[in-house]
Each structure stands twice: as structure tokens, then as C-alpha cells.
């Protein structure tokens, strides 16, 4: 229970008195509902304090911090290769994508450029982690709306992507594969052929999900027009990634501000949707999985030969300076701001993760919706708790 000040009490009484003059008969008392920190719909420990009038939300406030791990501070006492392990755990469903902007920022400070083959493979894993992340979203959306079956399909097909990641990196969830100046290993034999088959499977999965959801009346009724974010509000709250693109903002860092990855050399499309509702967010992510699988296919075909590691000193000391690199991660824009004083460890590391901004819109978005819509909206905003609380 939070302490209520006298001033708040007086305001409440005044508001009630004003209401009762208008509506003596129908006066009801509201209810405060704590959704979380332990709740099946919050993917972890996000707490939403919702003030309800019946089933309608009067106000809602997200409270993060139940899983704060102090990553930024921890990074200050770790060397750069060690930090790589740590930041794997930020967005734990698309771990490799967390490493990429950090490594790129460190490379930028050190003035190293990874060899072309390493850049291509990096881009491939970047997109594969997007696939493994968003596939789970596509299935999870069904669970949040009460249909458990798509989640099982999602887990089934995500497994193939994870297996491919594991064959190269040794880690299913946390590859820890990216290095300053290149990659840890090259691809094993026969991997590319298998990956193309897996990408075919991923596209089949997308078709399956599209069949299950797109023409389903109940799904449309539950998502269309629910949680509409206009483009200007999305920009004000700093939404990024698919959430912004679903509001019609044609902004994708992979295309508009490429930073060391090979996306400009690939043939792909940025999908946007004009509606800005939960359905649009689902639809945009579905298309993104398709685009990502096509990108992986193209990289498999066009992979250049050569070394996978540039010449890097054995002990990595990053020269003094500051660097900011952000990339288009599965959840949205993710960036690292490194301040180095020339030591083994960064002096300060600021992490910008997408989910924190994406969730910050909830007080605005949840006002006036019904309780089931809270779940739809939270699911469609798609956040990972590790990405909110670093």
C-alpha cells in the first residue's frame, strides 16, 4: 500500500462529491488491481497498478524494477569480452542481437573493422535472433488472447532456429559469439544447407500463423482498434521497432542508419501499417519474420570467403573516447553509449533498450480500456522484462 497524503485524500473526496451530485444512483467505488509482479501475462516481473471502475481501467501505471540487475554498473568493472557475456542477458530471446551494437561501438572506438565475412555472418545471426525472438511473440499473442495452440507451434518451430544457432555458437539462448574485430568461429560444414531448410520452415510457420489468425473473427474483434497509438504519440513516447512501424512511422535503422551490418546490400522491405492498433503490431512483426528469413537466405547465398577475425591485440584496451551505436533489434532500437578512458573496462556504459520506452506508453494507452484489453495491449507492445530492467 502506498501512503496517501492528506492532499490526495481531499482531492478524492472532492471528486467523489462532485460525481455524486451528478450521478447519485450509479455511484460505484473503484478498485485497485495489481497486475503483477507475478502474473502469467507479464512475461516476468512487470507490475501494472490498474485503477478499475468495474472492468474498465481508469488509470494504469507500470512499475518496473523487480528484476533490476544493475547491468550498467556491473559493466564498469568488467573487461570488454566479459561485458559481452553480461549483455547477452538483456533481451534473452534474441541474445545475439544484444551483442552486435556493443561490439560495433567498441570497434568504432578502437578503429577496427571486422572482415567482410564476419560482417555477413554477424548480420545473419542478427536476423536469426530476430526470427527466434519474434516467432515466440507470434505464438504468445495467441496465448494472451486465450488460444494456447499457436504457442506450441511457435515453440516447435523456434527449436529449429535455436538448433542452428547452437550448432555454430554452442549456446541456444546466449551465444556470446561476437568478438571485437570479428567472430569467435566460422560456420561448420553443411550448416548453410540446413539453415536454408530451416528458413523454409520458418516461412511455412508464418503462413500457418497467418491462416490461424488473420481470418479469425475473434482475433480481429480482440485486436482491431484496440490500443491504437497514433504516429505522433508514438514518436513522443520514443517508441521504436515494430511498435513505431505499426503506427505508420517508416523508420528502420537497418535501412536508415546502417552501422556496420550488411543490410544495405540485401534485398528486403520495411513493412509499415497505418492502423497503429494491436492487430497492426502483430501483422508488422509477422512480416518482419518473413523478411528476416529471406535476408538469411540471401546471406547464405552471398556469403563472401575470407577470414572471420581482424587483427586485434590480445589484451583489449579501448582508446579514450565516446561512441554511440544503435541497431534495429527485435524489440526496437537498442544502443550502447560507451565512454572509455583508455582502460581495460569502460568508464561508463549507457544501455538504451527498446522495451523500456515501449512500455512507458502504457499509462497513456491503457486509460479507458477493459481488463482483457490490458493483456492484449501488453502482449502486442511486446516487451521482454530483461530489456526493461537491465
Amino acid at each position: 500500500m502506498t501512503a496517501v497524503t492528506d492532499r490526495q485524500k481531499l482531492q478524492y473526496i472532492a471528486a467523489k462529491a462532485a460525481d455524486s451530485r451528478v450521478n447519485v444512483e450509479l455511484e460505484t467505488e473503484g478498485m485497485t488491481l495489481n497486475i503483477g509482479p507475478q502474473h502469467p501475462a507479464t512475461h516476468g516481473t512487470l507490475r501494472i497498478v490498474a485503477r478499475l471502475d468495474g472492468e474498465q481501467v481508469v488509470s494504469a501505471e507500470p512499475i518496473a524494477g523487480y528484476m533490476h540487475r544493475g547491468k550498467e554498473k556491473l559493466c564498469e568493472v568488467r573487461t570488454y569480452p566479459q561485458i559481452n557475456t553480461l549483455i547477452n542477458r538483456i533481451d534473452w530471446l534474441g541474445s545475439f542481437a544484444n551483442e552486435v551494437p556493443f561490439i560495433l561501438a567498441a570497434e568504432q572506438l578502437m578503429g577496427i573493422e571486422a572482415p567482410p565475412r564476419a560482417q555477413w555472418i554477424r548480420t545473419m545471426f542478427f536476423e536469426m535472433s530476430r526470427i527466434s525472438n519474434l516467432i515466440l511473440f507470434l505464438g504468445d499473442m495467441g496465448v494472451q488472447l486465450g488460444a494456447v495452440t499457436p504457442a506450441f507451434y511457435a515453440f516447435r518451430d523456434r527449436e529449429f532456429v535455436l538448433n542452428q544457432i547452437e550448432r555454430v555458437t554452442g549456446g541456444r539462448f546466449h551465444p556470446n559469439f561476437d568478438r571485437i574485430g570479428g567472430l569467435k568461429d566460422d560456420l561448420p560444414k553443411g550448416w548453410i544447407v540446413d539453415t536454408k531448410a530451416v528458413m523454409e520452415r520458418v516461412r511455412d510457420f508464418c503462413d500457418e500463423i497467418e491462416e490461424l489468425f488473420m481470418n479469425a473473427e475473434i482475433f480481429s474483434a480482440r485486436t482491431r482498434g484496440i490500443g491504437v497509438i497514433p504516429a505522433d504519440v508514438a514518436m513522443q513516447y520514443g517508441l521504436s521497432g515494430a511498435n513505431a512501424r505499426a503506427s505508420g512511422i517508416d523508420w528502420d535503422l537497418r535501412r536508415d542508419a546502417p552501422s556496420g551490418l550488411v543490410h544495405p546490400e540485401l534485398d528486403w522491405k520495411v513493412w509499415t501499417h497505418p492502423d497503429g492498433d494491436s492487430f497492426a503490431r502483430f501483422w508488422v512483426r509477422l512480416q518482419e519474420v518473413r523478411e528476416a528469413s529471406k535476408m538469411v537466405d540471401q546471406i547464405c547465398d552471398g556469403l563472401p570467403s575470407g577470414p572471420i577475425m581482424a587483427k586485434v591485440p590480445r589484451i583489449i584496451k579501448v582508446p579514450a573516447g565516446e561512441a554511440w551505436v544503435s541497431t534495429e533489434n527485435p524489440l526496437g532500437e537498442m544502443g550502447y553509449y560507451i565512454v572509455s578512458k583508455g582502460d581495460l573496462t569502460p568508464f561508463r556504459l549507457k544501455i538504451r533498450s527498446a522495451s523500456f520506452n515501449n512500455v512507458s506508453i502504457t499509462p497513456w494507452l491503457l486509460r479507458g480500456v477493459y481488463v482483457p484489453d490490458i493483456i492484449t495491449i501488453l502482449a502486442s507492445l511486446y516487451f521482454i522484462l530483461g530489456d526493461i530492467d537491465r
Partner: protein
Amino acid sequence: MTPTLMFGLELAYWQETIIKVLLGLVALLLLTGGVVYLYLFKFVSFMQSRLGPMEAGPYGSLQLLAEVGKWLQKEDIATEKADRFVFRLAPAIVLASTFVLFAVIPAGPTAVVSDLGTGIYFVLAMSSLSVLGILMAGWASANKYALLGALRAAGQLIAYELPLVLAVVGVVIAAGSLNLQDIVAAQASGEIFGWDGIGNPFILTQIVGFTIFMIAVQAELTQSPFDMPIAESELVAGYQVEYSGIRFLIYFIAEFATAVAFAAIASTLFLGGWALPTAWGLGDGVMHVVGPIVISAKAVLLVGVVFWVRFTLPRFREDQLQTLAWKFLIPISLANIVATGVLKVVF
């Protein structure tokens, strides 16, 4: 009461009733367990491309026993602020309202605990008792999720009670009786334009009523897409959220026993019940044995439909559910009654 002959013994009315109730309970629990294994464990697993339980017994067939054993061992917790008496009474009421339904469902020429003249009326009245238990559970749990779930359940069960009743009215008009045995007999001895090869199951003439009945049953059972009272992704487990151990088990049994009960009622009303067509010329002696098998098979098939829908569709929102009931199902079922009445007079 005149003594009746049963298993070659002369039994008093009370003896006969006790035997029927015990047999009915055994049959009910077996059927419910079978349905849970067949559909909740296996059928759904295959729909979701997984195996389901495989370890306990051949193909996991003893999994349910393991689950029941687990629930019986667990501590029976009532929360500190709960209204203990009401909290403990609630599951019993829900279960009782289910078991009472089976008392009037006929499974053979004499295999019915109580052959009420107003059988279907009794069924519909008793089935709505469960909402009382759910409201009690929601209120006594002293939990906001439970309260929300219970209120949703109350709103939903009342809204869907109406189409359920109105869908049955069509059958009652067609059969000319409220008695379930008469309804079965009317279907067995009926004929389709003079042909009596399969009798005249009311699903043929009352297909609209059957559809509405099954939709309403889906809502009465609070199965997806009408599972807002439980809604695990929203309300965690709705009114069941504070229950554990044997009391949760009772809710579990009640849920699936009600599914079996409503499927049995639907097959009695629309699919001809226990009877095989009169034209096949099977005597009462055969039907004593075949009747229970026939109605069990039909009921299990219909439960399959309920589960099929449950694991296919996402959940409605509360207001969308009310819209569906009041704006679509009730007007359609009223039109169905009018049409049935007119056709009954014409033919």
C-alpha cells in the same frame, strides 16, 4: 411404491434408487475420467503437435490417477481473509449441481434415477445452480481476481442460460413433452417423410436449435472462447485462484462432469439419446445393455466437439460475449421457436 425387478431381485424403491445412484456415479466418474484422458490429455496434444502424457501406464493412460493422487496429497489452503465456511461450501455446490443433472438423464428404458415428468425443465433449473457456487467462491476467496472472475461468470451464465432454454423449447414443441424419455421415444419412433430407417433425430429439424444449444453449452461450461471467468492470461484462474488440493480437484471434476452431462443432454435432445430407431426392431431387453453404450458414445463425441472448439478459438472479451448472446443468439432462438411452432401446426 410397488417393488421393481432388478437383476432378478425384488427391490424396494429406496434400494433401487441407491443402486442406480451408485451405478450412475461410477459411470459418471469413469466417463469423466475417460473424457479427460481422451481429449484434455491426448486429443489436444495431437492438435498441438506434442505427445501429451506418455509415462504413467501405456500411452499415459494412468496419468489421471497420478494427477488425482497429487491433488489429494496437497494441502487444502484457505486464505487468511477468506470466509472459511462459504469458501469450503462453494465447490460442493458446484459439484452437486452437476451430479443432480445425471439423475434425470435416461441411459436406457429403465436406467434413469428419476424419470421426472418435467425432466428437461429440472435440468435447466439445476444447471444454473452452479453459478451460485461460483459467486460464493469468488466472494469468499477475498481475492480481486477471484471476484472479477466470479462476476464475469455470473454475467455470462445468466446471459447464456436464456439461449440454452430457448433452444430447448424448439425440441419440446417438436416432441410435445418435457419428459426426457418421451423426447427420446419421439425421436426413435419418428419418421422423415414416411421413412423411418433412422427415426427422426431432432438435429435434422432443429439444426438451428442444436447449434445455439452447443454454443450456449460452451459458454455454460466456461470453455474457450467463453472462458473469461477462468481466463488464465488475464485473471490467473478466476474464481479458482485461491483453491488448492481436493477443493481444486472438485472444481476440476465438476468442470468435466458438467461437460459430459451437457453432452449427454444434447445427445438426448438432438441425437436420439440412448434409443436406436424403433424400426430396427430391438426389444427392451437388448436396449438395457446397448442403451448406456449408445448414449455414452454420443456424449463422448459431443464432448469432443466442445474440446475441439476450446483449443481452436481465442477468447472473446466480456462485452463481445454479451453482445453475441443478447443480439444474436436470443433473437435467432426466438425465431427458431416461432418457425418450429408454425411447422408443427402445418405438418
